[in-house]
């Protein structure tokens, strides 16, 4: 905050030409940052290997089925209704697994769209694509 007001009071004392040069510099810094951010993103996307994506999706899928089936099996175990909830759980687990996968792939789709405009600070370079 304090730095900011300092800067503005200083810039009022500058001549017209200097202000122009400064804003030009600012623009150049911004484009450079954006370029850097883009290459960072591209790099992180490259790191996002096909095998990584496959592993990510398959674990999400398997986890959904295991969770649903396990829950059904537990209910059967407690209630003594052996095949009923196991089968229901398998079906629901399958649905949950599909939903897990859809959720992950949806994020993958947006991460390439929101390349430059949504997040402009340079910290964003290590976020979206690398989520493997």
């Amino acid at each position: 905050m304090a730095d900011n007001s300092d800067e503005t009071s200083q810039s009022t004392r500058l001549t017209q030409g200097e202000v122009g040069a400064l804003s030009d510099l600012e623009k150049r810094i911004h484009t450079a940052q954006r370029e850097r951010h883009k290459t960072d993103l591209a790099e992180s996307q490259k790191r996002n290997t096909d095998m990584g994506v496959g592993l990510r999706l398959s674990t999400e899928f398997i986890a959904g089925i295991i969770a649903g089936t396990g829950l059904g099996w537990l209910l059967d175990y407690w209630l003594g209704t052996t095949p009923l909830f196991l089968i229901l759980g398998l079906g629901l687990g399958f649905a949950a697994a599909i939903m897990n996968v859809l959720r992950v792939t949806k994020n993958m789709g947006t991460s390439s769209v929101q390349t430059d405009d949504t997040k402009t600070d340079d910290t964003a370079g290590n976020t979206p694509g690398a989520t493997e």
Binding site: G64, I66, A67, G68, N100, N126, T131, E132
Partner: protein, 259 residues
């Protein structure tokens, strides 16, 4: 083909590296709580992280030295991760997330040393970590939002007749989180380390043929090992990163269940 030499089976047992060895037997009322090689490496990891962060920051220099800037970089890395994925109110949980990240990262990197034990290649370890995160995040969700946390399971715009089914599916999807979280970390490290050992075994098989062609052929798996080792270092970091990012995302769900 020198099938007769290799008849005794594959020269290296790729699973041997994951065996648990009891170092100090301990028994609490029938529960085996022995201090094993796995525990030893966890303790080493813990001490290494603590020593690394404390000693590197001892100078507290304005212009950081090499070690200090590594610690500062990891601090900023995790802080940004928490801010972007869990929001600014997630910053309260930074100490936990940072500890988690450093522990998993160091455990994975220690696993790259020859003769070291890869702690995260056992699903019970990763599952315990994932359950800690899962239970903690659920408690935070209920503590912050009360019963409003249950909104997480009710997606917007679901038709009334289908709502019970959708909520059930959402709950199962929520319960599958610790499973996918732990399986991903464990499977990546297990698969990577087994692959390394198998390629190492190929070298022995090649060389044991004794022929010039065999020894020359051993260069191929050797090159593979070099490439895979580099990949494993990347995986070690990436999996620690993925584990913590997902923790942040779950935390964000717990803090803002509305969306």
């Amino acid at each position: 083909m020198a099938a007769d030499q290799a008849q005794g089976g594959f020269p290296v047992d790729p699973i041997h590296q994951f065996q648990i060895q009891t170092l100090i037997p301990l028994d609490f009322g029938g529960i085996d709580a022995s201090f094993t090689n796995s525990s030893l490496w966890m303790v080493i990891t813990m001490f290494a992280v603590t020593a690394f962060t404390i000693f590197a920051m001892r100078g507290r220099a304005m212009v950081p030295g090499r070690m200090q800037s590594i610690v500062e970089m990891s601090y900023e890395f995790v802080a940004n991760m928490v801010r972007e994925n869990a929001g600014s109110d997630g910053q309260k949980f930074f100490p936990f997330i940072f500890t988690l990240f450093m522990f998993v990262l160091f455990a994975n990197l220690f696993g790259m040393f020859p003769y070291a034990f890869t702690v995260m290649s056992h699903i019970i370890v990763t599952f315990a970590l994932a359950m800690t995160v899962f239970i903690g995040v659920t408690l935070v969700g209920f503590a912050k939002n009360g019963l409003g946390f249950l909104k997480l399971f009710v997606p917007d715009g679901a038709p009334g007749a289908l709502l019970p089914l959708v909520v059930l599916i959402e709950i199962i999807s929520y319960l599958s989180r610790p499973i996918s979280l732990s399986v991903r970390l464990f499977a990546n490290l297990l698969a990577g380390h087994i692959t390394l050992k198998i390629f190492a075994g190929f070298i022995i098989t090649f060389v044991s043929t004794g022929s010039v062609l065999g020894i020359a052929g051993a260069i191929l798996p050797m090159g593979m090992i070099v490439a895979l080792t580099a990949l494993e270092f990347l995986v070690a970091f990436l999996q620690a990163y993925v584990f913590t990012v997902l923790t942040c995302m779950y935390l964000s769900d717990a803090l803002h269940p509305g969306h």
